[in-house]
């Protein structure tokens, strides 16, 4: 358990360090910049954060690694990251995980097959929209981890691809 947590905010990686100051006071350091905040828990799991000039309610809801954060009337979605490690399925990864929960409708390649960069590997459908998973680079399919008709969650590995053609 480390007091330092790492978060993904869109393309960014951001860090938070919390230090309780006693009572309901916390020193909170975000990306190296610190503030003191009062933190009050309201009955329904809402937090009231108090700064120098007022307070704002914050509602945080976890869904897997995702955190839905509402500050007053502003909404943000963050992702909890293990310190330093990036998830392979994010924009920085190879795109071979399911980008959304859905149903695999078509498997377009077979294990062992050589594929070109951009070649469709697999189709996943959710809410009447089809999304193609394409090869991020030239390579050879090592493994197909899903079958047509299968329902998958978001972020699940679907295809493993070796870099060598």
């Amino acid at each position: 358990m480390s007091p330092r947590t790492v978060w993904r905010d869109g393309e960014r990686e951001r860090t938070v360090e919390l230090s309780p100051l006693g009572g309901d006071r916390y020193r909170v350091e975000v990306d190296g910049v610190a503030r003191e905040l009062g933190v009050e828990r309201l009955a329904d799991g809402t937090l009231r954060l108090t700064g120098d000039h007022g307070s704002v309610t914050a509602e945080v809801t976890a869904a897997g690694e995702r955190r839905f954060v509402r500050l007053g009337r502003l909404d943000f979605v963050l992702e909890r990251a293990a310190s330093g490690r990036r998830r392979s399925g994010g924009p920085g990864g190879g795109g071979l995980e399911s980008p959304m929960p859905g149903i695999v409708t078509r498997v377009l390649v077979a294990a062992g097959e050589a594929v070109k960069k951009g070649q469709p590997l697999l189709a996943i459908e959710a809410m009447k929209m089809e999304h193609l998973i394409r090869a991020p680079h030239e390579g050879r399919v090592r493994r197909i981890a899903a079958a047509a008709g299968e329902m998958v969650d978001g972020g699940v590995p679907l295809v493993e691809l070796d870099a060598d053609g």
Partner: protein
Amino acid sequence: MIRTVFKTVLIANRGEIACRIAATLHELRIRSVAVHSEADRGALHTRVADQAIAIGAAEPSASYLNVAALIAAARASGAEAIHPGYGFLAENAEFADAVEGAGLVFIGPTSEQIRLMGDKRAARALAGRAKVPVVPGGEGDDPEALVRAARTIGYPVMVKAAFGGGGKGMRAASDDAALREAIESAQHIAQSAFGDAKVFLERRLERARHVEVQVLGDGQGDAIHLFERECSLQRRHQKVIEESPSPALDEPLRARLTAAAVALARKARYRGAGTVEFLLEPDGHFYFLEMNTRLQVEHPVTELVTGLDLVRLQLQVASEGKLPFKQAQVERRGHAIEARVYAEDAARDFLPQAGHASRVRWPRSPFVRVDAGIESGDTVPVHYDPILAKVIVHAGDRGEALARLAGALDEACVHGVVTNLPFLRALARSPEVAQGAFDTEWIEREFLRSFAALSGAPAPELALAAAALAESLGVGGARNGVSRTRRAPDGAGPFAKGRWRLPGLE
């Protein structure tokens, strides 16, 4: 109080529209019967109905498109009529036939009318007979005949599926070669999506708006209109924000447009509620696009400006076979706008989202209406249309309505499933929307860029702080990942008070 012949009505739909139909049924003291797939066991629409019947597996083909199961559920529940909602079987003539064949009332037009309007070429022909202008176009099964037609009407042209809808299989082409390719592609998609490869051509209209007219027919040749809806704010032919009245119409144009819609409905001897869609060019010319033979998603804006309940009117026409009032009695007041809340991640190419919506709060303010299909704790399944709710506002004028919409969208909160709420909020506050200066392609041509800049901005430090504090305190369902006993470093570390953005705190 109307007296319908119906004591029990089955709602052959799910989500927000099933809930909305149930509300009117309950008010009229008609028993409502919900149907649900395996994925929708316990869904909100099953909870608000008087009775809920399971009709099949999660896939729509096994449940909400399962005609036999729906008819069986209607029989088992003693329903005398079926309301199809929108989507699914709402514009399926075979379903309407099956319902009537089972001795039940289909709350909608006749199956012949559904069939007629489903064939876009036949609908164009009918519009022509009703003296309603249609987009110059061409038909024919031979691609080369279509190419010759394109040269006559002038490029660019659109290739559309004869039995299509919702922009599916639609292709634009600017020259002969592109057109031949577009025809082949469109035929292929039309065959697989609609079971019929027939396509037709229309001249592509530049910077056109989508304006539609709500009509109501008695099925015997009389019809009235309930004014227009402006639906030009679309992304990939999917409407996002709709309003009434249209900021693009003045009174003479409104009179001509609504008269054209009524003429078409009368010519079709249309029964029930329908929508006549038009494309409107910047110079004020309008052209018949198609007629939707169902209740539209965006019907609430018409309800708010006219003060009429369209589902109630549908039930009245289906029950009594006549219109409950005359055209002169339909008045409009103020301005109404609707925004559709979809489960899609606008910041990530509008990828559809699903999951457990653990915290849901819809706005509740004066003159704000929300038609919602989920509440806190409900699941958004992957199998269906991503619409979660519609936020609809009514105000004295368009400026007030937009301010009210923006305020209401701020109040809405969905946690657990990513929605397009940030996109809708940005749209509601955009200067072009305020000026009414948009066409059906404006969002994709211009707005998406400015939205990307907005949604790519970093979250304020306070949001990160809240996420970390919630985890540390164990609220919101996150694990406690932070030690709570560690002492603060004495003056150590960078402490630059004032460098945070603190919405609400400074």
